[in-house]
């Protein structure tokens, strides 16, 4: 089988801390969170009022009126992120790449804001049927489908839905497709738009959302903050990228997956360690080559100490000295099925700029999470390799290994 090095040549991001990669990076480097009162739904009856929403997103600025009507917000975000990534990669002008390109998106919830609206129409407002586009707007692959239609991409396209690991699974599978010659270009990432009244109540019921903000690895952490957004990466063979003179942001060098086979909501730690080891093995790199981990780092009671134990198990003494770990969810929130894509983008930009984004909102260290978590201030550091961790409810884990571009 063909095995090729895989470059990332374009990134697109919309998030609570910026609606394009430049604004997103500026916020990450400044350690500036985008967490505030939720505006898309009424939270007055809930135990939390804050979220990390994409702000100032006007569909009319990006879509023909009819096209905007056919798409749930999660799919609109996927399309805009994909266009940004393709433009950044310099692929937009030429046309023939589209037949050999793949699209792989991650989404946990699909167009659930549309479905929630449809249920209100039926159960509250007494309509017989919801809007006729409820089904095509809600399907989890609506983001992938919209990207293919808007960009004219005719290669393989599909969607992974593995809760909070969705986008990491999407990027990992797309990476393997490009590495193994199954696609010449891949657009991979994820998108999520979780702020519907019904879904917010369901999150309130499961009691993992913080009443104020997200403080990963802090002994006073109170839970996660729900986030919204999309990120898409352009992956292509490194040789092809260099041949066409594209700017290489970094490389995807490995992908690992595992299942806890343990519990619906409590992580085991062993599964996380197994996925990290699998990513290192797939990349053929030693733990000491990894200088930064973008942690799953949800800020929940259960995740953070378990993830730190898993990091110690994989990295040994290197976890205590030399390895920097941060959770950028402290700034862009937990964007569920898009989280892995937003965090892969953050990690690639960190490698590219030689600056590691911090864990924001950090106050007091938790002895159970006593790693170098880059508290509150970004740090200049030339790092060769980095991991991006995603661990889902249901115990499904996915980890990407990334490397900075050769100099």
């Amino acid at each position: 089988m063909t095995t090729r090095r895989v470059a990332v040549t374009g990134v697109g991001v919309l998030s609570a801390i910026g609606n394009d990669p430049a604004a997103f990076w500026e916020s990450l480097a400044a350690g500036r969170p985008g967490i505030g009162p939720v505006t898309q739904a009424d939270c007055s009856l809930l135990r939390f009022q804050n979220g990390a929403e994409v702000r100032d997103f006007d569909p009319a600025a990006h879509f023909e009126p009819r096209a905007a009507d056919t798409l749930d917000r999660f799919a609109q975000l996927a399309v805009v992120a994909a266009r940004q990534a393709v433009d950044a990669a310099g692929l937009a002008a030429g046309g023939d790449w589209r037949a050999r390109a793949a699209v792989v998106t991650g989404s946990c919830l699909g167009g659930q804001t549309t479905m929630d609206r449809g249920f209100v129409d039926i159960y509250v407002d007494g309509r017989t049927r919801p809007h006729p586009l409820t089904i095509p707007r809600t399907m989890a692959n609506a983001g992938a489908s919209a990207v293919t239609m808007q960009l004219g991409i005719t290669g393989p396209a599909f969607t992974t839905s593995t809760a909070c690991s969705s986008a990491t699974h999407a990027i990992g599978l797309a990476y393997w497709m490009v590495r193994n010659g199954m696609a010449e270009v891949a657009l991979a990432g994820g998108s999520e738009s979780p702020f519907s009244p019904g879904l917010l109540r369901a999150w309130d019921a499961v009691r993992v959302v913080s009443p104020d903000t997200c403080r990963p690895f802090d002994r006073n952490r109170k839970g996660m903050i729900l986030g919204e957004g999309a990120a898409m990466l352009v992956l292509e063979p490194l040789d092809a990228a260099l041949a066409r003179g594209a700017t290489v942001l970094g490389e995807v060098v490995g992908f690992g997956m595992s299942s806890d086979a343990h519990h619906l909501t409590q992580p085991s730690g062993d599964g996380a360690a197994q996925a990290m080891r699998a990513a290192l093995d797939d990349a053929g790199i030693r733990p000491e080559q990894v200088g930064y981990v973008n942690a799953h780092g949800t800020g929940t009671t259960a995740n953070d100490p378990t993830e730190c134990r898993a990091l110690r198990a994989v990295f040994g003494g290197h976890a205590e000295r030399g390895l920097a770990v941060s959770s950028t969810k402290s700034m862009h929130g937990h964007a569920l099925g898009a989280a892995g894509a937003i965090e892969a983008a953050a990690t690639l930009l960190a490698l590219h700029h030689g600056v590691l984004p911090p864990t924001a909102n950090f106050g007091e260290a938790d002895p159970e999470c006593a790693l170098d978590v880059i508290p509150n201030e970004a740090r200049r550091a030339e790092v060769e390799c980095a991991l991006s961790n995603s661990f889902a409810f249901g115990g499904l884990n996915a980890v990407l290994a990334l490397r900075r571009a050769g100099r």
């Binding site: 135990r47 019921a205 519990h263 909501t265 409590q266 009671t301």
Partner: protein
């Protein structure tokens, strides 16, 4: 159930407050056991329940009593008596 057992059961019921009985009923339903096999002294572990089951039990009680129990109280419950204590703290009239 003979007459003696019936008397004993009804005496136990009257000794229990309304709150305790409701908690036991909901814990028993969640643990898939008959209510007479669940005691206030039982830990969740003894009943084969975990923290997610605790969240489910507290949710049922919130709906039944029409109250909201904060996360800090709800996440800490590890026994039937913990649930009773969490509920009592947040009931309006200290039932």
């Amino acid at each position: 159930m003979d007459e003696h057992q019936q008397q004993q059961t009804s005496r136990q019921d009257s000794d229990r407050t309304q709150v305790e009985s409701q908690v036991i009923a909901i814990v028993a339903k969640t643990a898939k056991r008959p209510a007479d096999q669940v005691r206030l002294e039982h830990t969740f572990e003894e009943l084969g329940l975990d923290s997610l089951d605790g969240v489910e039990i507290v949710y049922e009680l919130e709906e039944r009593f029409g109250i909201t129990i904060p996360n800090e109280s709800a996440r800490g419950v590890r026994s039937v008596s913990d649930v009773v204590a969490a509920l009592r703290t947040h009931l309006p009239s200290g039932a």
